[in-house]
Each structure stands twice: as structure tokens, then as C-alpha cells.
């Protein structure tokens, strides 16, 4: 379990998140959802120690995160930021091999185990046929898979992803989401991601955390979190919630923006 205690996160002197207590189950897919500027990315960055909280603690399996060395943490959790870039000419194989960095020492080259891990990750993400191509020559979906493969060879239980599908078209979005689902089910990786598309979040995540203005508004299964009143208060939209006949998961069909005053009231009700 990853949990936080009274987390306060600031950018310079501006408080973005205050008194955050959130709990993320291990072995599941968790989606952080919220509107732009709600602080969900900031929370993800803080959970993965890219940002330091100015107050409060983060625990992974009961152990204090910031008490461990950054190298130790790198063996427990991997992070894939939003829209990462690779140097020109770097091949997929090379990029994925960089993920072994936390396990390597000094100048040593890739060991047999490193190589085995790299091949496995290339295979499991389905990009082995592009191994010797430069990253920039891949399509968006394949590129994202290459980055995911890089995070995979880091051999961590937990993988954090910041909007892994944002710049992809629909087909590639589903491909990436299916891959993450497979990694969760077959490889037992805990996935924590920020997702923009609510229906994706609901379809793929076991656990959802809805965030507004740095506060957790609601957490739970998609059916518990995806409600009309929550959508009204978090996103300011009026939406019908229907049940997806295929997956049995809730789907949202937004139809209007709601009135600003109402949002305020609803927000108070939910809180």
C-alpha cells in the first residue's frame, strides 16, 4: 500500500496540495482523475519522489519514502513522465537498456541478466520488431510502448505514469491501456496513473481517486467514484452515467456545463 499522511505540496510559496491523505492499493491499477490544474500531476510527482513535499509523509508498504536513498527507491518504483523526449538517433533497444541504470554499477556494460530483461520487456510490450529503429521513427503508440518497456526493465513493483495516452489517437490509446492492464494482471505490477479520459479510467482502473484543487474528493471503485454529482463538482459538467454493457463499468456521457454557483454548492455537499 502506498499512503500519504497530511501531505502539503508547494510550488515556491504557493500551496498546491494541503492535508492530503490518500491510499493507493498495491497490485491494482489506480487512476488519478481531475480537471486541469487540479494538482493530480503534482500529487503523482510527489508520490514518485520527483517533488519533495513541504510537509507530511509518504509510506510505501509502511516504510517512509524519503528515508530511503533515491537509488533504493528506484528499485521499488518507476516513473514515466508526461511526453518524455529521447536524444536523436537513440534506438528502441538502447532506450530500453537505459532502464537498467539503477541496477548497474559504474562503467560496467549490460550483463546477461540485463539483456534478458531488455528482451523480455521488448517482447511483452510487443515492440521487439522495432528494436533497432530510432525512437523518432516510431509511431506515437509504439514510442509510448518503448518508454513503458524502459520503465519495465527497471524491475519495480510500482509504475507511475503521467497521462500515458494523452498524445495518442484512439487506437493507440487502447493499445497502451491494454498493455498496462496486461502488465498488471500477468506481471503483477502496480500501476498508478494520471488519466484524462474518464471512461478509460473507469474501464481500466480498479481504483479511482478524484482530485479537485489538491484535495481528494472521492476514492473507490469506478462505480463508487463516477457519479453525476462528482462529475458536477470535480469537472463542472452535467453528465449521464450509464453502465457499459460490455464491461459493466460506468461510462459518462457529458451533455452540458453546469452553472458556476451550482458547482460551488455541489462541491460543498460532496465535501
Amino acid at each position: 500500500m502506498i499512503n500519504t499522511k497530511d501531505l502539503r505540496i508547494c510550488y515556491d510559496k504557493q500551496v498546491v496540495v494541503e492535508g492530503l491523505n490518500v491510499c493507493i492499493p498495491i497490485g491494482e491499477i489506480t487512476a488519478l482523475v481531475g480537471s486541469n490544474g487540479s494538482g493530480k500531476s503534482t500529487i503523482l510527482k510527489t508520490l514518485s519522489r520527483l517533488m519533495k513535499p513541504s510537509h507530511g509523509h509518504i509510506y510505501i508498504d509502511g516504510k517512509l519514502l524519503h528515508k530511503q536513498s533515491t537509488k533504493q527507491i528506484a528499485k521499488q518504483l518507476a516513473i514515466l513522465p508526461q511526453n518524455p523526449t529521447a536524444p536523436q538517433g537513440l534506438t528502441v533497444y538502447e532506450l530500453v537498456s537505459f532502464g537498467r541504470f539503477p541496477h548497474q554499477k559504474g562503467m560496467s556494460s549490460l550483463s546477461a541478466k540485463d539483456k534478458e530483461m531488455i528482451f523480455w520487456a521488448l517482447e511483452v510490450t510487443g515492440i521487439i520488431e522495432f528494436a533497432d529503429r530510432p525512437i523518432e521513427a516510431l509511431s506515437g503508440g509504439q514510442r509510448q510502448k518503448a518508454w513503458i518497456a524502459m520503465a519495465l526493465v527497471q524491475e519495480t513493483k510500482i509504475i507511475f505514469l503521467d497521462e500515458p495516452t494523452t498524445f495518442l489517437d484512439m487506437g493507440h490509446q487502447i493499445e497502451v491501456m491494454n498493455l498496462l492492464q496486461k502488465l498488471n494482471e500477468e506481471e503483477d505490477r502496480t500501476i498508478v496513473m494520471v488519466v484524462h479520459d474518464l471512461n478509460h479510467a473507469s474501464r481500466y482502473a480498479h481504483h479511482m481517486v478524484a482530485i479537485k484543487k489538491g484535495q481528494v474528493i472521492n476514492t473507490g471503485t469506478p462505480s463508487e467514484v463516477m457519479t453525476s454529482s462528482l462529475l458536477r463538482s470535480v469537472f463542472g459538467i452535467e453528465a449521464d452515467i450509464i453502465v457499459d454493457p460490455r464491461s459493466g463499468k460506468p461510462l459518462c456521457l457529458p451533455y452540458a456545463l453546469c452553472d458556476a454557483n451550482e458547482v460551488q454548492q455541489n462541491h460543498l455537499q460532496v465535501v
Binding site: L50, L80, P81, P87, F101, P102, F119, A131
Partner: protein
């Protein structure tokens, strides 16, 4: 594609990279041999080899060992030092424009050297080993100022900001340098103006003895950190995610880059462009892997400066054109050509 094929492709690639390094090494040897042949007194390659084997005339030995060889070695070391310095700076700033000259590190190092010269009565009496120390101090202070000014707490080191700050600081330091230079006496003025235009002024064996271990040490350090440079090229967030202590590692790398640039500057003055172009050419030849990129940059930088220095001292012999000027004259158009071919 299967695992065996990928392994084969990777092996082939590694072999190719080593082959390129070998070719560059032979080119460097060739350039040095050519440089030994060239000069006021012409020597054939055969005579050069004969002299090396101890079978040449005394005059030939004197010319080769006392005048030419040491200078050529210094030129090679300076070229290699500046190139690797540029390679590291481009790596940590993730900006292909970073170069110790452009961001003011060489100017800072030079300024300290000039201040030091201004306080010394007799230029020719300056102990060889002191100049690199002053150059390093100047370079380090400049680098520290640039680092502090281009660093933002939550965003880290901003590549574009680093370049812009560096350019501004270089301009300011250049102005300061002009003011200082105007106040020097004629003899010092001459020394400084020759120094500024980027000539290999420290070309005696004593300079080789000071420079060689320094450059070697710093290049080995850069190689030691080559994997880290690879990871840094993926950005701050991914590097942190891999367990890199960004601030610490960046300062170490910056210190290596400053050390290389300052050691080079201390015997050669302001040679621009080598630190910019050599890593670019190396990247085109050998790819973005720093394990190969660092040595390739060093070799290319060495070749560039040996050739430039040889052209400079032979084209209007017995007079000389400074190596820095030769590099700029050839380097600037080449750089523009490179720019026109890149997509960025």
C-alpha cells in the same frame, strides 16, 4: 525480429563504433605526422620516422622534439579537452548549443588569467602550473554563477536559460576584459591579445607535463560518468526516477567540464567552436551513446586543433595565424552547413 538477430545487430553496431574510434585515432596520428612534417624547415615523413627511431640528424631531432612535437601534443590535448568539455555541457544542459566558449566559461577562465598577468611584472617568468589554477578558478566561478542564475527550484536546470545566461555573462566578461586589457602595458597587451585570439602559446614540454595528466584525468572522469550522461539526456524527471541525485551529479559533471575547459584555456586562450563542433560531428558519426561519444569527441577535437594549428603556422610562414582564428574561419561555415542539415 528475434533475440538472436537483435544481439547480432547490437554486436555489429558495437563493432562499427569501435571501428570509427580506430579510424579517428589513425586520423589523429596522421594529422600529427603531417604536422611534424610541416613547418619552416620541411621534413619528409621518412625523415620524421627516422628521427623518431634515433637515426636522424641532430638538427632534425632538435626541430622535432624541441619545437614541433611538444606543440603538436599541446594542440591535441587542448582540442580534446575543449571537445569533451563541450560534449559534457551539451549533455547536462540537453542543448546542442552549449560550449565552454559560448556560455562564458572560457572567458571567465581567461579573465582570471589576465588579472593574474596584470599583477605579474614579467610575463615570461610566470610559473607554468599556476596559470591552470587561475584559469580553473575563473572558469569555476563563472560556471557557478551561470548555474545559480539558470536554476529554478521546481523545474531544475533549464537548458535554454543556461545558454542565454551564459551568453549574457560571456558578453559582460568580455567587456570587463576589454577594460582590463586597455590598462595593461604594451608588453602585457601584446601577450594578452595574442592569448585572446586563441593561439597555442604554451607549447614547451613543461606545458605538456602540466596539461597531459590534467586532461587525461578529466577525460577518464567523463568516461566514468558516460552512463550518467546518457541517462541525463532523457531529462530530469526520468533521471531522478532512475535514482540519480541530480544536483550532486550535475555539479560533478560541471566541474569536469570546467576543469577541461580551464586546463585548455590556460595554454591556448580563447579557442571557440571546437567544443561546439567536435561533439556534433562525433554524434553524427557514432550516435548518442556517451561511452563512444566522449572518446570520439576527444579524437575529433584533437584532430581539428592539430590541423588548425599546423595550417596557422605554415600558411603564411614564418609568420603565424592563431589556431583559434583558423578554427573559426573553417568552423563557422561548417557549423552553418550542419545547421542547415538538421531539422531542429
Amino acid at each position: 525480429m528475434d533475440i538472436h538477430r537483435i544481439s547480432r545487430v547490437e554486436q555489429k553496431k558495437t563493432r562499427r563504433q569501435w571501428r570509427i574510434l580506430a579510424v579517428l585515432f589513425f586520423l589523429l596520428c596522421g594529422a600529427m605526422l603531417f604536422a611534424l612534417n610541416t613547418g619552416y624547415v620541411k621534413l619528409t615523413p621518412f625523415e620524421v620516422i627516422k628521427t623518431f627511431l634515433g637515426m636522424g640528424t641532430e638538427k632534425q631531432a632538435l626541430i622535432l622534439f624541441e619545437f614541433r612535437l611538444s606543440r603538436i601534443i599541446v594542440a591535441m590535448l587542448v582540442g580534446a579537452g575543449l571537445a569533451v568539455s563541450g560534449c559534457i555541457l551539451q549533455g547536462i544542459s540537453r542543448n546542442p548549443l552549449a560550449d565552454p566558449g559560448i556560455i562564458g566559461i572560457t572567458t571567465g577562465a581567461g579573465l582570471f588569467v589576465i588579472v593574474f598577468v596584470a599583477f605579474y611584472d614579467n610575463v615570461s617568468l610566470i610559473p607554468t602550473y599556476i596559470v591552470p589554477i587561475f584559469a580553473f578558478l575563473g572558469g569555476a566561478i563563472t560556471a557557478a554563477v551561470i548555474y545559480v542564475l539558470s536554476y529554478r527550484r521546481h523545474e531544475g536546470l533549464l537548458p535554454t536559460r543556461l545558454i542565454l545566461t551564459g551568453v549574457a555573462i560571456a558578453a559582460a566578461l568580455n567587456g570587463l576584459m576589454m577594460v582590463l586589457v586597455m590598462r595593461l602595458n604594451p608588453k602585457e597587451f601584446h601577450w594578452v591579445s595574442v592569448w585572446l585570439s586563441g593561439t597555442i602559446w604554451g607549447y614547451e614540454w613543461k606545458h605538456v607535463i602540466v596539461l597531459f595528466p590534467l586532461i587525461l584525468l578529466f577525460i577518464v572522469a567523463a568516461l566514468w560518468k558516460s552512463k550518467l550522461l546518457d541517462v541525463l539526456s532523457l531529462g530530469d524527471q526520468i533521471s531522478t526516477g532512475f535514482g540519480v541525485t541530480l544536483e550532486k551529479e550535475r555539479i560533478i559533471l560541471l566541474a569536469i567540464a570546467v576543469g577541461l575547459a580551464a586546463s585548455s584555456v590556460s595554454v591556448s586562450g580563447g579557442i571557440a567552436f571546437v567544443g561546439l563542433i567536435a561533439p556534433h560531428i562525433a554524434r553524427r558519426l557514432i550516435g548518442p551513446y556517451h561511452q563512444y561519444l566522449v572518446p570520439a569527441s576527444a579524437l575529433i577535437g584533437g584532430i581539428m586543433l592539430v590541423v588548425a594549428d599546423t595550417i596557422g603556422r605554415s600558411i603564411i610562414a614564418p609568420s603565424e595565424i592563431q589556431a583559434g582564428i583558423v578554427v573559426a574561419i573553417i568552423g563557422a561555415p561548417y557549423f552553418l552547413y550542419l545547421l542547415s542539415r538538421t531539422k531542429v
